[in-house]
Amino acid sequence: MIEDEIYRSSSQFRLWSYTESSLRDLRANTNAVASDRVRAALQRARQARQPVNPNGSNAETAIDEKEIECLNPEEELELVRYYCEKTLELGETYKPPLPTNVRATAIQYLRRFYLTNSPMTYHPKSIMACALFLATKTDNYYMSLRQFADGIPGDNTTAEDVIAPEYLIMQGLRFTFDVRHPFRGLEGGIMELQAMAQGLGQPAPHLPQQTPEDLRRALHLIPPNPSASSSSSSSSSLTDRIAHAHHNTRELLKTAAQMTDAYFLYTPSQIWLSALFIADRPLAEFYLFTKIGSPASLPPSTSSSSSSTNPLDALRTKLIHTITSCSALLQAYTSLSTGPEQMKSLKAIAKKLYHCQNPEKVNLAGQKRDSANPSPAASTPAAIAAAGGEGASESEMERIAKKRKLELERKGREANDIFGGELVTERTKERSLQ
């Protein structure tokens, strides 16, 4: 099929397609590497601290050693998914709200980025805004950086904060900015279905025996949607039914398709057809079978040309299997912020992350500034401050520990906010250190 060849040339197919097992392996690998690095970094931080208080007890070090408990891949994934939802909400806060495409692209950037990077190394909060900003650029939705930074709630997020991890993200994306979304494909499918409903449909290239009138009659004869409420489907016209399915599918694509691994495991056209399967199964089946032949119409056609129908047959079997598994994946999705259970586990993850955040990667904007002017005299104190205040005295360390505890409590309260206020607390922490 020539359309498939066209898709195979895309970077999404070549670089960002995975099987379930390879995806799992990749995440586990990333997690393992990042955990090692975090442990090493914390170790370094502690060693840097030791010369300042040489009589620091060994017991304290031992406790620290035990404390480093890194996130596991599942927790990382959940965290990333949470921030994907946050990206959707962040896009909503702008006036006018950012287009769905932009937000979806940003989410896919986040997901791609965290395939090879760990939230322990780079906190999703700092990456998220930049990914969204990058998506406005790649999806042709111009917005100045200042305008964008001003639109972020939680008052003082500066333009530098937004732009700091830009190159990092680009590298994480392997410089492939093209994301193939299922949205436009859905529009095309619905467009054609509407045409068929009005008797204007054209036969598919491999099934030339179809006529527009046949298609129209068949479309009107398809059984009502079992999942929809019976009153609406029976009373409303076919056009309304298609429009309804369109709407539901779109909603699914906006949320479930973004928050799951669908983009990594399936192609955009498979994704939108799966979503249509969930929204209106008989309609989706009808549409698919007009393209590749239905199993019911097969017996009469086998006598005439069995050899030509065989590849379509094989394709259909595989495709239905794929679409079923994809729709199962989409249906399994539930929003993270809905259940209190999930919020609780998220909070636990956030808490854990706070302790195992790689201290050398905390201040991205600062790091950028450091690398810009690498004069040793100017950058040394800044780096020490960024790395968690190793140069501070013991009493100061205690004070910071207490502050940290307070912050944790506050963060627990603020977790229900859109942004949890973490950027702000980090900022105050830095300020206090300086």
Partner: protein, 336 residues
């Protein structure tokens, strides 16, 4: 055989050879004047000329230098055989067969040789002519110079005779200078002519080298006698240009693109001059949406990736990239 004998025996058409035991039929036309005193040399030259005419392959026709050298050796062998009378019958039949089989290439090479000879001749005469002209010009020049010299001398003498005694030295010096200037001008002129000739000769030489390369196409496939000939490459006629490399433009497997799709929110665009003025075509939208609706429908990632292993190739790159990024930024931090 003397001239009068030839006239006597062969004037009335072909006749058998008068030598006892030789039964060849000879013709008068084939007799000619002896060039060399030694009849053996004469015979060898004759044979050589005949064989060379048949085995007239050229160096360009051989695939390698070695093959050409082998051919030369073989030719010498045949000539030696014929001259010394060893294996004459077999050699003779081989030669005849070869001549028959390669008639066209022999002809072509002969024509080529003749052409080369004539061009060489022409060039030779041209060069001679030019040399003559040059000599003429040089002589003319010397003549002029001599005349001028004499005239100058006369002039100086007359001026000396007419002028005052004090001017004598100045006039003599002036006359000397004029002479020098003239001769230096002549020398530079000569130099220029020589250079021009050298360039001319070089270009001719190059042309002479370049010309015979066209002979290659007249070669024949390996015949029984001569080995190592170049394979003649018959140029494959170019296929008609296909800009899409075998793809049929606008061919689709999943859908048939229509001119118009009914849609409540797209249809107004068809009448909206503001949209259409910029060249927006709704058909672009149709084709793009429908293509995206089906692009990749038949790509089953789990199968294709496990088959091709493209994923395995790309994965380490990504992790390496990440590691590199971490190392560089980590390095910066620790350096700082």
């Amino acid at each position: 055989m003397c001239e009068s004998c030839v006239d006597r025996i062969f004037s009335s058409g072909p006749a058998p050879c008068p030598v006892a035991g030789c039964h060849k039929t000879l013709r008068k036309a084939k007799f000619r004047k002896q060039t060399f005193e030694d009849i053996g040399v004469e015979r060898e030259v004759d044979i050589r000329r005949r064989v060379m005419q048949i085995l007239n392959r050229r160096e360009e026709e051989f695939a390698t230098k070695r093959a050409y050298d082998d051919f030369l050796e073989q030719r010498e062998m045949i000539i030696a055989n014929l001259v010394h009378g060893t294996d004459v019958a077999k050699t003779e039949t081989d030669l005849q067969r070869y001549a028959q089989e390669n008639l066209s290439s022999i002809r072509a090479n002969q024509a080529l040789e003749a052409q080369e000879a004539t061009t060489f001749q022409e060039r030779q005469t041209l060069e001679q002519e030019q040399a003559r002209l040059r000599r003429e010009a040089a002589r003319q020049e010397y003549e002029n110079e001599r005349r001028e010299l004499l005239a100058g001398r006369e002039d100086v003498l007359s001026r000396l005779a007419a002028g005052r005694a004090g001017d004598a030295a100045a006039i003599a010096r002036e006359g000397q200078r004029v002479l020098l200037k003239k001769s230096s001008a002549r020398r530079s002129e000569e130099e220029r002519i020589r250079q021009k000739q050298a360039v001319l000769r070089g270009s001719e030489l190059r042309k002479g080298v370049a010309a015979p390369t066209t002979a290659g196409i007249t070669g024949a496939p390996d015949s029984g006698l001569v080995k190592g000939l170049k394979k003649i490459e018959v140029p494959v006629p170019d296929k008609p240009y296909d800009p899409f490399g075998g793809l049929v433009p606008d061919k689709r497997d999943y859908y048939t693109l229509q001119e118009h799709y009914p849609s409540t929110y797209l249809d107004p665009i068809r009448q909206d001059t503001r949209m259409l003025a910029g060249g927006y075509d709704l058909r672009e939208y149709y084709s793009r949406t429908l293509l995206e609706a089906f692009a990749g429908l038949g790509c089953f990632l789990d199968e294709e990736l496990s088959e091709s292993g493209s994923l395995d190739a790309s994965k380490p790159v990504a992790t390496q990239g990440a590691a590199m990024a971490a190392a560089t930024s980590g390095g910066n931090a620790s350096k700082a």
